[in-house]
Symmetry: C2
Subunit: 397 residues, 2 copies
Amino acid sequence: MELTTVKEALQIVLNNSEDFGIEEIDFLHSSGRILKENIVADRDFPPFNRVSMDGIAISSTAFNKGIRAFKIEGIQAAGSPQISLKNSENCIEAMTGAVLPKNTDVVIQYELLTIKNNVATVQLETLKEFQNVHLKGLDRKQHDVLIPKDTLISAAEISVFATVGKAKIKVAKQPKVIIVSTGNELVDVNQIPAEHQIRRSNVYALASLLEKLHIKAETAHIKDDKEVLTSKIKVFLTEYDVLLFSGAVSKGKFDFIPEVLAELGVEKLFHQVAQRPGKPFWFGKKQHKTVFAFPGNPISTFVSCVKYFYPWYYKSVGLEFPKSEAILAEDFYFKPSLTYFLQVKLHQENGSLFATPITGKGSGDLANLVNADAFLELPANKTNFAKGEIFPIINYR
Amino acid sequence: MELTTVKEALQIVLNNSEDFGIEEIDFLHSSGRILKENIVADRDFPPFNRVSMDGIAISSTAFNKGIRAFKIEGIQAAGSPQISLKNSENCIEAMTGAVLPKNTDVVIQYELLTIKNNVATVQLETLKEFQNVHLKGLDRKQHDVLIPKDTLISAAEISVFATVGKAKIKVAKQPKVIIVSTGNELVDVNQIPAEHQIRRSNVYALASLLEKLHIKAETAHIKDDKEVLTSKIKVFLTEYDVLLFSGAVSKGKFDFIPEVLAELGVEKLFHQVAQRPGKPFWFGKKQHKTVFAFPGNPISTFVSCVKYFYPWYYKSVGLEFPKSEAILAEDFYFKPSLTYFLQVKLHQENGSLFATPITGKGSGDLANLVNADAFLELPANKTNFAKGEIFPIINYR
């Protein structure tokens, strides 16, 4: 069977992204979601001429006439309606965040004042225009777009939602995902495996990788029984947008997944990718349902998820998948003509990112994942990879 | 007043970290938490001689005697108890993940076989020792530490917890945090502010920054009234481990926080840091209670949280705070003798991280946070910062 290259496989996956629509959620719980509306300024920012240092507000005209001692007429507190300076040669104490009092145009900070008997005296030669005043509309104008649609939301965006009064915001709806393991050798986490059994772990790794994308996936396990697989997957195809499988896609006698999917009308878009680990990866579609059938080895499932599912999800919700590169810190040799996802430990030095190989014992060596941070993607058409060369990196932490 | 340097301030903050103890949680919901026990292998990995390719299991002795056609005796499926090869010149079909059948020591993959009339024929000259067999204990031995205490948990660790049957794991308990805004100018998100008012946003920015650390903080707002502040903060000091304030720490007439905290017996460890933004930052302790009183300007609060609270939290839960650096992409000039937290946009090129200044309109320009990604920390003892120079970076995305 002809292997699909990694580049082709990724392109096919991306060409099959899906739009899951839009929902409205509470702004405070939107971190990590993707904004699906433009956020505009509901008023100017600042919305008024805003005092930006604690001190006295005066008229610069009085100052320029030579006046240096100002009788205090009152206080302009933050959160109080604007008051007015009555005598242009007096001053008003004004607090950070307050509206600049009417008939004043500069604020002199307390650090430059002495106050005695309700008179503030300054020693300055000159003033800057609008000193310590943050002018209305200087930052942003009413109706300006503050955050464009298709932005990944973080704390910064959340504070802007609050400022413009967007208690509810429109975000990309998440796909409904089920993660399915197969394999009669698997028992659950709280069970003691017999000699020939092991515990399920891939579904939890996948669930956790999806949680990083704020997708709450469900999980299921099905024994290697063709009839049971068929009837269950049939239901999953109606109830979920995305099915992620782990295992049963290779050449074994009980690797029923490709056959069952075909019988259920899921179109195979590729099977077998020129990569290590993860060669038996199967990908297909049935109308708007997307099926990623990853090989069952732990590292294969893990790398396939971050290499293919992550960019597919980003494309689906309208985001560019962030590309990153790292510098190989040691020479490395890999002969087969396959793209090799090398496990590496990352460290940063002088603004550059270095990747040190942590090869482990192959695709079954789950524990090695915790010793590494990322996969360095080494191209198929090379055998010798030299220290200092730069390759794409997928950081899974 | 003498300003505390950024370095001194950070050191004081770190010297005042706190241990919040340990709790046991469900392994599947532990991503982002800090492991507080060693995770050890409950058995060898793999736990048995494991077939790693689908094919036939044979005895290499037979092969070395010249035999190339093997009658199929049976199938060893994954998840079935180990069976035995009865006639050493026959074979057993063996599936990936299965126990290697007794009396066999190599597996020849289906790709190298032809099977006809229940006889598998191979064309090979030689075999590798234990070909396609993942030997018991090769990856890890029983009782090996797979994950050490004080590890930040991600999907990789979660899959290892599952494998060794740790359904419950011990993690660092989170501090109980309340985030308090002050300021009479503030109204809530769902209200329409009057001309002289603005909406609360800092508490939500802080809540979201803490959510990134998996801390669920509570929020409160108190008007600028000394009596109310005193009675409420008194209660907070009994009910929470950490109090984060935003505002009322500068020189204004209604900046009651330092005074109120002193009256309530919170010891001031520093007030005023030689930094911009965030100069009025106040930090103190009362026994095991920690108080961060950040200045009220949005950018000041934001940068103080990531620069001081984040490393304090990491230290408290037993983690090293990850240090990162970026390369300044443009010349920059800053005169005051203060550490300047320059807002920057990051991009990566050839494995190196570059920071482009996005200065905005000062510490009140909240909307600028969404245009940038990070703060580049420019030292106080310099004025001219040249393109290509490397400085510490705090990425808040």
